[in-house]
Symmetry: C2
Subunit: 234 residues, 2 copies
């Protein structure tokens, strides 16, 4: 075929540029998770506002990834596997953008629960957020290194996140029943826990894409990112 | 340029095929919203199971859209605006797939609240769902017809959805405070309302993409899809 080594190298450089932008998005999303949780724990409105403001950077980077991906396709006309890699990069950028939105949503709730009484189940949230932040970090490492083993590990960690979610859900329900006057604040914590649980699902979805790109096979059904049913009927 | 009328026509036919698959996804998502709500109102477990099962069809169609889009790009090497249209189609398919997931999530909750006492705020949900279903229908019409006016109308309707959400949120909180024994079931309804609200946001996001594709301009900030803060602090 007419593809010269020169063309191949140019494509790889462009793809690396795409990957670098996505890594940058991932770093910002990771920071947003940690900072939104810190703002929540310390009722730090200014920190929460910074998270909300910084989400615009993630959105802007997604637009850059999209623009660069379109240019790369138009300029290099990649075929088959290469094209699929560019499309995967586009999709992953979209997922990271959504993870950033969830962190922003958590930060927004800091404003509303600022003056609420201290709530016991709050103490489980930072640990849950720490695991989710690690999943986001690791899955983007897996993406950068095309490493299917790390991708499988990320999926496995999602079970811990689901366990945290179920535990927080039960605790909050009990808390609400015992403290009806704090139902409003507890509801916000419920949504925050749900946001973290969804971030874990999204990291798992990216892990599945990375696994597929690296191995050509779908990851087993059991590890797939899927919301657990909230365990209220016991 | 060397682009023959023949090539252009082939591209348009391929793009029409993509659009047809997305329209089919949209029809299934619309059905899923209506059916999950009917199953919820009538505590119809079998109908809920059908919604959960049918979501696989939406997922499969998204995979078809992705495969066809990759083939189209590889085969026709579309440039500039044409390429952007294909990328937009890919993104829109992703959003419709997520709307289907939200409907599936509602259907899953039918199992858990089946035997709960009847809950007053439940009566607002079907009307909220009806508007969301219409938004999904209309935004895919707007996409098919490249109609920016319909896209703007869809964004405007999202305010009604947010109003419904806020109203249901307040009502459920009051209900929980007055009936602590039903907090579990009420929490599920809260998540269902949130799922519908998110579907409205996603339809709005698609409307923004359609608007941009049709006019080359971003829709004003005010109409953008964004989760409302739950109004608990009053």
């Amino acid at each position: 075929m007419g593809t010269s080594a020169h063309t191949v190298k140019a494509f790889d450089q462009d793809l690396d540029q795409l990957r670098a932008s996505i890594a940058q998005m991932g770093g910002l999303a990771e920071d947003a998770i940690a900072e939104s949780m810190r703002a929540l724990m310390q009722r730090d409105i200014e920190a929460a506002n910074r998270v909300i403001e910084n989400d615009k950077k993630i959105d802007a980077l997604e637009a850059v990834v999209e623009r660069d991906a379109v240019q790369l396709i138009a300029l290099r006309a990649p075929m088959a596997d290469d094209l699929r890699e560019v499309v995967a990069a586009l999709k992953i950028a979209g997922v990271v953008e959504r993870i950033g939105d969830y962190a922003k949503n958590i930060a927004k709730r800091v404003h509303v629960i600022e003056h609420s009484a201290s709530i016991e189940p709050l103490s489980l949230l930072p640990e849950m957020a720490r695991i989710v932040g690690e999943m986001v970090h690791n899955v983007l490492d897996a993406f950068a290194a095309r490493n299917s083993k790390i991708a499988v590990m990320v999926c496995e960690r999602d079970r811990a996140v689901d366990d945290f979610y179920n535990s927080i859900f039960r605790t909050l329900l009990t808390f609400m029943m015992e403290n009806p006057q704090n139902i409003g604040a507890a509801t916000h914590l419920l949504f925050i826990a749900k946001n973290l649980e969804r971030m874990g699902d999204h990291a798992t979805n990216v892990a599945e894409m990375v696994y597929f790109a690296a191995t050509g096979e779908q990851m087993g059904e059991r590890t797939k990112g899927e919301s657990p049913l909230d365990p209220v009927d016991d």
